[in-house]
């Protein structure tokens, strides 16, 4: 639970807001993507200096003592500016480390993360998992004192700039069981770790990571053997919460930009904003955006009192509902901009693409509705 007081939180949100308004233009972003794999050293250092990398960690670990709900303001602002730095990816991996019980790895790796000197990423998704963090086929087979990891993870964002990867693996139990999962931390240069790096459709870097019988020792494990399920669920829920905040930020921006564009662009001699059909379309964009925003606010207030399963359910609701909103708002923003919305030059298409990517990772709407049926109704 967060120990941040109201003032600290407001100050953090305010500092992020000023940063994205004053120090991160759309052109900066473009350069960033073209030249630095989406990561400017300067920007990342700013994140560290402003304390944003320390928010959801206890003071004992060198953090500010907040929890994941305290990153919501950061992520919303990052959505406004379409920040490409690997903030949510690194936070997710670091949270796994921080909430695990491998004290040695914590002391070894976390300080560097909080200070912006080091990045970790989490490899959880697999080709058939579709958003279920427990659907792990990657195997951890006993091998002497340790294990051999075999299998593949996909859509690992920012793997190429990270030093270490946290990977989920099945120790025992059947596919999708909560029991029997392990988390290992290993340097990305470990022999047998094969990284296929690629740009993604939203401009960020992603990778598939194959583990070809990679040897790991029990010291590299984050929690006791086979007991990582609850932690994986919990931090997956946190990642969804962060993604929702980013999506709301993006949608808010799209509504604002679309309203502004339709006021200036004329067709048939009148501003687009004069057409009632487009007015209603924008009203619906507002409704969708505000719907997710309200659900996000409710989720944040309910988060602290919830256990890992309940947080997973809250996150599924958010992800399922926001998928619909993301699609509608993104598509209509492009539609109302017309041809220019289809170009790489204008920012609108980039916001749209980022929303699309958020939709598809960590389970799309349909998957989460099915998950909710299974968890809460069936």
């Amino acid at each position: 639970m967060s120990t941040l007081n109201h003032e600290t939180r407001a100050m953090l949100d305010d500092s992020v807001s000023r940063f994205v308004q004053n120090e991160y233009t759309f052109d900066d972003r473009r350069q960033n993507l073209a030249r630095h794999q989406g990561q400017s050293e300067r920007v990342w250092q700013t994140f560290a200096e402003m304390g944003w990398l320390s928010i959801p960690f206890t003071e004992e670990l060198g953090g500010l003592g907040g929890d994941i709900t305290d990153t919501v303001g950061v992520m919303r602002n990052f959505g406004h500016a379409l920040i490409t730095e690997p903030y949510p990816a690194v936070m997710q991996a670091a949270r796994l480390l921080a909430l695990g019980n491998n004290e040695y790895l914590k002391s070894e790796l976390l300080p560097g993360v909080l200070e912006g000197r080091r990045q970790l990423v989490f490899a959880g998704e697999e080709v058939a998992s579709r958003g279920n963090p427990l659907a792990v086929a990657l195997k951890a087979e006993p091998d002497g004192d340790g294990f051999r990891l075999s299998g593949e993870k996909i859509s690992v964002r920012h793997a190429m700039t990270a030093s270490h990867v946290v990977v989920s693996a099945r120790h025992h139990g059947s596919y999708c069981d909560e029991a029997g999962l392990d988390l290992f931390v290993l340097p990305l240069e470990t022999p047998g770790v094969v990284v296929t790096d690629y740009p993604m459709m939203d401009g960020q870097r992603g990778a598939n990571i194959r583990f070809d019988g990679v040897s790991v020792s029990p010291d590299q494990r984050l929690v006791d053997a086979g007991n990582a399920g609850a932690l994986i669920l919990r931090v997956n829920a946190e990642a969804i919460l962060m993604a929702a905040a980013e999506a709301v930020g993006i949608m808010e921006t799209l509504v604002k930009k679309t309203v502004a564009y339709t006021r200036t662009r004329k067709q048939f001699g009148v501003a687009l904003a004069e057409f009632q059909v487009l007015q209603h379309r924008m009203a619906d964009m507002y409704i969708e955006t505000t719907s997710v925003d309200n659900l996000l606010a409710q989720t944040v207030t309910r988060w602290a009192g919830a256990d890992a399963r309940q947080q997973a359910t809250l996150a599924s609701k958010l992800k399922a509902r926001m998928g619909q909103a993301n699609r509608y708002v993104g598509q209509q923003a492009v539609q109302l901009h017309g041809g220019i919305g289809m170009t790489d030059e204008l920012d609108i298409g980039h916001y749209f693409k980022r929303l699309t990517a958020i939709d598809l990772q960590m389970g799309n709407s349909e998957w989460h509705r099915k998950q909710l049926w299974r968890e809460t109704v069936a």
Binding site: Q279, A283, D284, S291, V292, L295, A320, R369
Partner: protein, 402 residues
């Protein structure tokens, strides 16, 4: 929330539950089950109103000084949840949730003394006179007029879509008292004490479900005293706007009510064949559609919570109020539509007798399905009345473009 607070709320919940258990008789519960629109069967809901009044619970959102309960929001919600759980009808909004708060806010001491006791006790029932045959969602083009004549006004014109006017003894309405200026200026908010005046004719309108719920009301030289005007003369628009926002923000939580409709659908689907030897509830398509609606209700609940905490009259509260109208009514319509899809053709018989409280007539088919078709039909009005959803979207767009 502290453990102490939680224990208090829990005790409160038990008290409410016990009271309902002890006091809501079969007829009242039957009326709850046989409610097919926003308006429960009249006689039984008013009976329940009087019973609640005897406990001091008829006005859960009014301040204590005016005879309300003075409950905080968690207690209001608990009370409503328990009412939904027990299946008792929700009180008619016109008196308690609409004209009552308006009188509390705008009324003179005389008006308060004259009207509030009857509203609280349920001895009076108020009809709402806003719409006119040629002014649906466009209240600004009202034509019902009142001319000053000494200490009186003389009203001529008509109102329509006046719910339960045939059961009402009092009526609040918007009338044109001025001529010049913008169309929505020159409108006053009148309180009519006696609907038996011979100049007033009330004609029920039969709805799609085959029953009268709305009415036309015609006024021919109806004389009312000048002090029947609530708020300033020609400023009835402000009263109406206040009332509208009050109704939406402070009113019943739709989400709580809708969850019960969803539960009914699920119950029905679990025992309904799918035509292939299985049950509907086991079909992934059913499950997906059902979960979509659950998520809409979750969203509505979250939105109602945000709105409750929001300062009214702020730049956000206007569009958010329109948003609540849109999403609540469209969600309700989608729930009602799914309900008839689940019920299927067994929902086709028209069962006016079985729907009548106390008739003792057994329904044809599943009892849970009895009300589904009337609800589907009646609630098509949900996107029309109270400012159509098109108007609400205009309002939101206007605020975005401001």
């Amino acid at each position: 929330m502290s453990a102490h607070q939680a224990a208090e709320l829990s005790a409160f919940r038990q008290q409410v539950r016990d009271f309902i258990e002890a006091n809501a008789d079969d007829e009242i519960r039957e009326a709850g089950r046989k409610t097919t629109s926003f308006f429960p069967p009249f006689d039984q809901v008013m009976k329940w109103h009087r019973i609640l009044h005897s406990q001091g619970w008829s006005a859960i959102r009014w301040p204590e000084e005016y005879g309300g309960t003075g409950w905080d929001v968690p207690r209001q919600l608990i009370f409503e949840e328990e009412c939904r759980r027990a299946g008792v009808p929700l009180l008619l909004p016109q008196s308690i949730s609409m004209v009552g708060p308006a009188i509390i806010h705008y009324g003179t001491d005389g008006q308060k003394q004259k009207h509030l006791p009857g509203i609280l006790s349920g001895d009076d029932f108020w009809a709402q006179g806003y719409s006119e045959p040629n002014a649906g969602s466009d209240l600004a083009s009202l034509r019902c007029r009142a001319e000053r004549d000494g200490d009186h006004y003389v009203i001529n014109g008509s109102k329509t879509w006046t719910t339960y006017a045939h059961h009402a003894n009092r009526m609040f309405l918007l009338v044109r008292t001025g001529g010049a200026g913008k169309p929505q200026q020159g409108i006053s908010f009148f309180l009519i004490e006696d609907l038996t005046d011979p100049g007033i004719e009330i004609r029920p309108i039969i709805g799609l479900d085959g029953l009268p719920e709305q009415c036309d009301v015609f006024f021919t030289n109806v004389r009312v005293p000048v002090d029947c005007c609530l708020g300033e003369k020609n400023d009835g628009w402000s009263v109406a706007k206040y009332l509208l926002e009050h109704e939406r923000g402070g009113g019943t939580s739709f989400a709580t009510t809708f969850r019960h409709e969803l539960a009914l659908i699920l119950r029905l689907a679990r025992r309904t064949g799918d035509g292939f030897g299985g049950t509907l509830a086991d079909d992934g398509a059913f499950q997906d559609r059902y979960m979509r609606l659950v998520l809409e209700v979750d969203t509505l609940e979250a939105t109602e919570e945000q709105f409750a905490a929001m300062e009214k009259g702020s730049p956000q509260s206007g569009p958010m109020s329109s948003m609540i109208k849109i999403i609540s009514m469209e969600t309700l319509q989608r729930i009602n539509e799914m309900a008839i899809d689940v019920a299927g053709s067994p929902s086709l018989p028209l069962q006016l007798a079985a729907l009548t409280v106390g008739s003792g007539v057994e329904p044809i088919g599943d009892e849970d399905a009895l009300t589904l078709m009337p609800k589907y039909l009646n609630n098509r009005a949900a996107s029309i009345f109270g400012g159509s959803n098109e108007i609400q979207r205009n309002i939101i767009a206007k605020s975005l473009l401001r």
